[in-house]
Symmetry: C2
Amino acid sequence: MQKIYLDCKNCDAKAVSFLSYCTDEEAEIVSAAKSCSHYKKGQSIFYEDNIPLGIYCLSKGAIKLTRSNKDGKEQIIRFAREGEFLGYRALIADEPLVATATCIEDTVCCFVPKNVFLELLEKNAQINKHMLKSLCHDLGIADERIQSLAQKSVRERLAETLLFLQKTFQDDKAQDENLIAVTLPREDIANIVGTATETVIRLLSEFKSDKLIDMEGKKIRILNQSALERISHASV
Amino acid sequence: MQKIYLDCKNCDAKAVSFLSYCTDEEAEIVSAAKSCSHYKKGQSIFYEDNIPLGIYCLSKGAIKLTRSNKDGKEQIIRFAREGEFLGYRALIADEPLVATATCIEDTVCCFVPKNVFLELLEKNAQINKHMLKSLCHDLGIADERIQSLAQKSVRERLAETLLFLQKTFQDDKAQDENLIAVTLPREDIANIVGTATETVIRLLSEFKSDKLIDMEGKKIRILNQSALERISHASV
DNA sequence: GTTTATATATGACTTTAATCATACGTAGTT
DNA sequence: AACTACGTATGATTAAAGTCATATATAAAC
């Protein structure tokens, strides 16, 4: 974890984050207060059950948010990419963190202390509004996820997950939008779907035999999107 | 669904809702704009996929929020009781409703039109703050729910659900805090847990044989709370 | 009170997915 | 190249939970 310098006003992540609602002065304040770090793939930015000390802004890379059970098996709750913020849920709710943030790629991430963020939230109505809306959206997503886990089969959820990963990690630069741009080990895919690693491997083999997907090295290519959508929505 | 009159300033639900952050004038405005209705057990207040026209305040009763799959099997996403609000998530996110609200008891519920609520949210910083915090809390709950559905067994989730129902429908007046104050059909319990009705019936029989619970008419009594907690947290 | 419908209960059976075991492939190390 | 570690793959077996069938209890309707 190596400290680097980044300027919020010129940060690439600004365009998609709440920083876009900041005045120049506000961005300056955040910039001065923040500290920026480089994390390697596999390193964690924060851990569940800890008290949040501030929020984290991903200026580059991608992370998974996970919760672990007693055997150490983890469940992936959601992902965050460039421009997204972490830790604000716990901070605003005034509760401990409910998830661990671990980098799935090399990541550059800025830490903004609690008081700076909360003051910004209080002073800037636009940011407040943006946060409120974004939280409402996320809660809707979580509700859909609850239904999916409760009512869909593993096969349906795996199809859903593949389509989700394709969409979420859509690479603007990439010419090939059918190739899932992120490389996750089978175990991580299992921890999204909520199943065993072997089951994922088996079902992916099936999907490949059925010409729904193809495996190219570590990457997965979607060959028949509409068929996957049909599987994903068979029951819900 | 019978129309009745209620005054927000003197409403019992005020103490626990965002109305407690209202000035008297604001409460007056809400009171004048709202329309209040009486719903019988089983009736629905709104339906998923519809566009929200305002928010709903439960001044009496209880509702379940559900999402249905293609076979009509419903998943209970959450409950709301006196003083709680419904529909604001979709309203703020500017999205269709993701769940259906159905009364599980006779209910009195007020409708507050969209513009009145949104204006209040904009004008009153305290209400805004309260909503923001409440949403963050709910999102944390949803995350825990996702892990539970993904990693716990049905048996573990049923134990968890019984404890949840006991806590959620804790009746202040009731002398007996071990009796689950709400009466839900086995099918509804199954739709919380995310399993089949028969499985719930079977497991409840087991719990009864094991002296963890007792069935008194339609109500369930918790006999051994710590044992249920142990079951509920066996893996997570 | 009798009929009808609905909820609860239990048994038999099937399906789905987890677990355990083992083999192979790939990448990094010495 | 041989060793090690880890991820992927596949088979065999077990366990968990779903489905189907049927019986009984409870509540609602006539």
